[in-house]
Amino acid sequence: MIRISEITARVPYYGARSFYEAIQSVCFLMALLYIEGTGPVYTVGRFDSYIFPYYQADILNGSLTPKKAQELIECLYVKLTGNIMFYSADSSRTAPGYRGFETISLGGVDNKGKDASNELSYLCLDAAESVRTIAPDLVLLCHPRETPYALKMRAAELNALGLGTPKFINTETLKTELMNVGYSAEEASVGWVQGCTEPYGPGCKQYGHSAGCNVNLPMALEAVMFNGRKRTPNQSGSGELLGVETGDPSHFNNFTDFMCAVKTQIAQQIRDGHIASSRAEWVQARHFPVLLQSLFTDGCVERGLEANAGGAKINVGPGIVVAGGLATLADSLAAMKKLVFEEKKMSMEELFQAIDANFEGFTTTREIFTKQAPKFGNDIDYVDDLAREIFQFINDEAMKYFTPLGNRNVASTCRSVSNITEGARTWATPDGRKAGMPFSNNIGPTDGLDVNGPIASINSLTKLDFNRHFGAIHNLYLVNVDDEEKIHKMIDLIDVFFSRGGYHVQINCQGKEVFIDAQKHPEKYRGLMVRVAGYVAYFVELPKELQDQIIGRTSHYV
């Protein structure tokens, strides 16, 4: 008790002298940031790198043992789990599970490109296995050549236990993404991850991707189908104007024109989103100073400007957030290209009628569109190229814009489970998805439609150019990982994903029957953790529709 009072009287103001004090500083700072902050998504950063000097000194002078260090790290995890953010009802539906999204990034490389992992990296992973809390969210920064296999192995073992943590990030792609927003190569190599998947570097201020505007890709199709209007539920035909009037859909007589109309709608969404989030940025700059955060952000003190007003060294615009559904859009476009424009199995009018009726009474049409066209995630160029084209288009459009504070706008795919909330307000799509159903989650294929195994799925995904994006989550569901050989295979999959230019992969290993049983007997599964999107949550605390969606994800037997 006396020790605690001594330490808490000292840090963070007087600076830490030991490992214990350093941990306490981090703990205080995170709590204070949450008290001050205008939003969640604060990061603990590259914890193992900056705490290591304290650890090493204490181990050398004999005042600390690795076991004691692990215990203190565990205490920090427990305290961080206790920081709960208050969300609006809408936001809580896009990110259920009581999370503050504080990440701890481990491993990675230093500014000379050399492996930066150390004993603490392993201790942080051991601590996570021991306490099994949902915070902080552990990230393993994987460099394709530098990161030691033993560290990846330890990380994969944790995933195999079903903890859903840590997630894996490719530092090479991370570096390029940071350089796109103005970092030098040296600074970009020491970057880490903030929140779900967003790249972050020293002296960076992002106007929270949590505050960025959603782009609802399948909604672009709805807008084309109904001449720029929203399809009104419960009555036939269209309602309010929400996009561009691209004309009566039956007038499209080739796919190029149709694709052009879809892109027009997406461009309009990005433009509108940019205007709205720029307004939010301006309001924050005027009315919500964050002084504590500014003290810890490079550039603010030098410029005499607080972080929300643009004081940071590198500012990134609020951004455009793809709310999942890339695969839903690509599958829909592929089905239309093949069945309507090339094979002419169905006319545009027939398709329109089926869509307008939400496929009610058009069961056969729906089955044809579901079954007879190629799907994203199976390594088929026909559909993957469409996804690639759309993805590139979103990146180019988003990066056209700068905010009033002069910040570069970027697109990312990080909005946790907005494929459910956005899906709920979007009408039926030509891939056979009915109105109100969820989209494909994050950057991944539509659940259950990537049937050629994880390699084909990875190949499809990595055809997308992540270098020009700003973070993109991919969920991989592997089951039956129960021995060492299978853990090696899991690492092989991750390595292949990264060597093909993938950016972020996170893995669920818990058997589906466990989740189904947990739905029936939640009281038995209070501690059951699950990887949701960019974060981990306790399964029984999630809403039913999200639980079902996690169970419905394509799983691959290893």
Binding site: T364, I368, D379, N452, I455, A456, D492, R500
Partner: protein
């Protein structure tokens, strides 16, 4: 993408387009594959791409891949998915399909003896209940798939596995594929019954890195009864493989599916004796019989040869494995 195969039922499997590259002496240019598994993990080292070849001389009563037995494509009908829309009946070119309507449901009936396997029905089936298994591929089409998987092969120490059916049933095509793989440094494995001409087998042994031989029964009379063929050629080829592979950096794994009451008991002792007489065996795998293949017979409109057979218990499997290991064999 490979084209769907269309051919008459009576034609042999090696007839197809005349423009492709020629491999082998008989001018076989296309192979018939009924499944491509891009994430195979149990048929050789590492993560592999497995090709399931069509056609097999043996007709094992318990075969769990009956779709691989015939050399021509197979028509599969999953009645549980079929919605009875009847579109396939209109498309059928040989009046082999009929719509059977009762008061509350309609189902499709297949008359397999009049079906000419033209393949017109499957692409228009809205539910995917009707499928044609067996597509023709050229060697270069298969190499394009292997190219996509090259990274994971190299990373995991995997490669190509040819299984079936019986990959050696299309031996000319197989050798064309294997020699290209050798040129491109792709690790190859084949899983065979060993029932093949000795000269052909010798050639294949030169080209393959890993060989699985699936033995069925050591007793020749019982072998004939269970598979329709003698095992003399299989046993002599196994000996040949063992002697040939002995001098090189290659591997031979002997597999046997254990079916209680069919090939266990005395047969396991016979197997042990046989294996001990071979100069070299890398490993032995005893696989418990499973019933996952039983429902496939319904899809093909056939009947399972051993409907009553049950999987062996874990204790029994353990006993047999220990028995083999007791004689110094490497059991996995």
């Amino acid at each position: 993408m490979a084209e769907p195969l269309t051919m008459s039922k009576k034609s042999s499997f090696n007839l197809s387009d005349k423009t492709g590259l020629t491999y082998g002496s008989q001018g076989v240019k296309r192979g018939i594959i009924w499944k491509v598994d891009r994430f195979a993990q149990h048929d050789g080292p590492g993560i592999r791409t497995a090709l399931y070849f069509k056609g097999c001389v043996l007709k094992c009563l318990w075969c769990d891949n009956p779709e691989g037995q015939t050399s021509e494509p197979s028509l599969v009908l999953a009645k549980t998915i079929c919605n009875g829309c009847g579109q396939c009946v209109k498309a059928c070119t040989s009046q082999a399909l009929a719509l059977l309507q009762t008061d509350d449901s309609s189902t499709i009936q297949v008359n397999r003896s009049s079906c000419n396997l033209c393949g017109a029905c499957a692409p228009i089936c809205p539910t995917g209940a009707l499928q044609i298994l067996g597509q023709s591929y050229t060697v270069s089409e298969l190499l394009a798939i292997l190219e996509k998987d090259r990274l994971i092969h190299k990373r995991s120490g995997g490669g190509l596995t040819c299984t079936g059916g019986e990959p050696l049933y299309q031996s000319d095509f197989l050798m064309g594929l294997l020699s290209e793989c050798r040129r491109l440094n792709i690790h190859t494995a084949i899983e065979t019954s060993g029932y093949v001409d000795e000269m052909v087998f010798k050639d294949v042994l030169q080209l393959v890195d890993y060989l699985f031989i699936d033995l069925k029964h050591i007793d020749n009379e019982k072998h004939k009864r269970l598979t329709g063929n003698s095992n003399a050629r299989i046993l002599s080829n196994t000996l040949l493989a063992s002697s040939t592979l002995q001098s090189r950096d290659k591997a031979l794994t002997i597999r046997m599916v254990v079916i209680p009451g069919v090939n266990d008991g005395q047969n396991i002792s016979d197997l042990t004796d046989f294996l001990r007489s071979l100069p070299l065996v890398t490993s032995v795998e005893l696989l418990p019989y499973h019933r996952y293949g039983v429902q496939k017979y319904d899809l093909l409109g056939r009947r399972h040869g051993l409907p009553e057979a049950e999987p062996p218990s874990a204790e029994v499997m353990d006993k047999y494995k220990k028995h083999l290991a007791g004689y110094g064999l490497h059991v996995v």
